[in-house]
Symmetry: C2
Amino acid sequence: MPEPPGLSYRAAGVDLDAAERAKKALRALVAQTRDEHTLSELGLFGGLYAVPAGYRAPVLVSSADGVGTKLKLAFLSGCHDTVGQDLVNHCVNDILVQGATPLFFLDYLAAGRLEEGVVTDVVRGMAEACLANGCALLGGETAEMPDFYAPGEYDLAGFIVGIVERSHMLDGSLVRAGDSLIALGSSGLHTNGYSLARKIVFEAMGLQIRDEMPGLGISVEEALLSVHRSYLSALRPHLTEGRVRALAHITGGGIPGNLPRVLGRGLGARVRLDSWEVPPLFRVLQEGGGVTADEMFRVFNMGVGMIVITAPGDAHAVAQELAAAGEKSWILGEVVEGKGVELA
Amino acid sequence: MPEPPGLSYRAAGVDLDAAERAKKALRALVAQTRDEHTLSELGLFGGLYAVPAGYRAPVLVSSADGVGTKLKLAFLSGCHDTVGQDLVNHCVNDILVQGATPLFFLDYLAAGRLEEGVVTDVVRGMAEACLANGCALLGGETAEMPDFYAPGEYDLAGFIVGIVERSHMLDGSLVRAGDSLIALGSSGLHTNGYSLARKIVFEAMGLQIRDEMPGLGISVEEALLSVHRSYLSALRPHLTEGRVRALAHITGGGIPGNLPRVLGRGLGARVRLDSWEVPPLFRVLQEGGGVTADEMFRVFNMGVGMIVITAPGDAHAVAQELAAAGEKSWILGEVVEGKGVELA
């Protein structure tokens, strides 16, 4: 097709037809995540989702998240579906900590130029993770923004809405001194600490994306792109039976930055460093960058993806049930009078 | 404070303390948007919002949007609150077209380095627009992503959730051939067409941000940063009384790209070009860039921010009521048998 005379949107770097084509290819993928509450298809202005019946006092729990600079690993490796999964699982965990199960998810994907294959891969990852978490991929925005993003790069944000019966809402108010902390193992860095990790791996250690992570037997790509774990299926049975008093998702800020968010005033935590072996990936990063232990704990999850707080008498049973559900879990420490997190 | 030895997160470009400080300053602003359904404060992992009572079959309507390259105008002008308003109003209009009133809003704000003043300005704009639309600013993510964004630049996405009684949901199924199209005037470009507009104004016309837009008596900044209009207050009284058969928010793709989204199979629209005078801003852009009329209509809203579809017998009364509510409104054309949009 000849270009129209004068300036056009295509000449300005925006290809509306390509965006339309990419959207069509995504529809089939996304359709798989629909459930009986999903009333709309992609293409409408807004996504429609019927509030499920059966709640006495339904509370919506929502969260917005990004993948952060883990995206740079996706750009380097050319693998774009895992960051889609990362984003959904991160969002799922963020509302899970308030007792909510997910209803629907929307994304925002922005690039200088939308590359159809990349968009499809990202959305496929999101759709797969939505399916696995029983969550509808209800819509999203794909924005072509010339001059904002370097060629081949994009940013990605997710937005999730879940639901919880008001009487089952977790807000930390049930936590008491003496309560037990149960750790659930992470699958890697999840989605935090990537600015530092990239600096260590690519600058201080001088590695490239396909190189082996020293001593780990896997590549940099495999080590750093491992998917953020969703704890929904393991924790769902525990959301309504009252034994879980609080949950803390270990994201940016690590254990010291996230655990206090669910401890009430006058409460702190003692985390026993001898209760687990920090996974080798974190040791390699610490040594590679000459990073202090404090800084490591403030930036990375150090092998702990989620912390479950229970009454001390319930801890062993809950930890065992979580292990039976396929999670690496262990008693990490306890809630104490005071404030902050002591790594002892 | 001395830097810890070895690499740190701060050295890698991420300043967690600055991010914390900015978050605190925002809390007071955001608190104003809370209503009786808002159960959470910022700082929790997820935002909590009680489903309002009184609906027989409540449907949640959600949308994700960005501001697009209008952000570049904010960067050039140093004015960051209006894009916050743009984003909220865009989202409000997107769910309004399905009959929904907003409940809550979350944002995603990403920058290479979070500048406290800029973040506060953006959030102040969002909080003001949320207040004006009766919508809680429930949370969000501010992401510091070194190496993603040019210094002084950021990206901004918004997520909104609204509610509608299922029997009042608008999905285009009520539209019939012969129905009337009522236009509601836009306040400028709203949030679409900025890649082309910037190319025309800054390249083809060689203007700078503080220069006068030729013949308009206002600066480039004023002309291009005017806030995306929210049509909620004008249309809210019409959402439940059955006279509005469909609404189309005129965003990317213009009238030809958006109006067909709410017309059923076998229906098109005839838009009468003599029914309104395209605002001078669009004439200046068209002449400045030597853009074809077709391309102008495909990229810009051309003065039409929203289209209301009613039965022909209701059109004049509805148009008059919208005018009385402060909107520029007129009969734009009609729904016809066929497909697509004819600009006649």
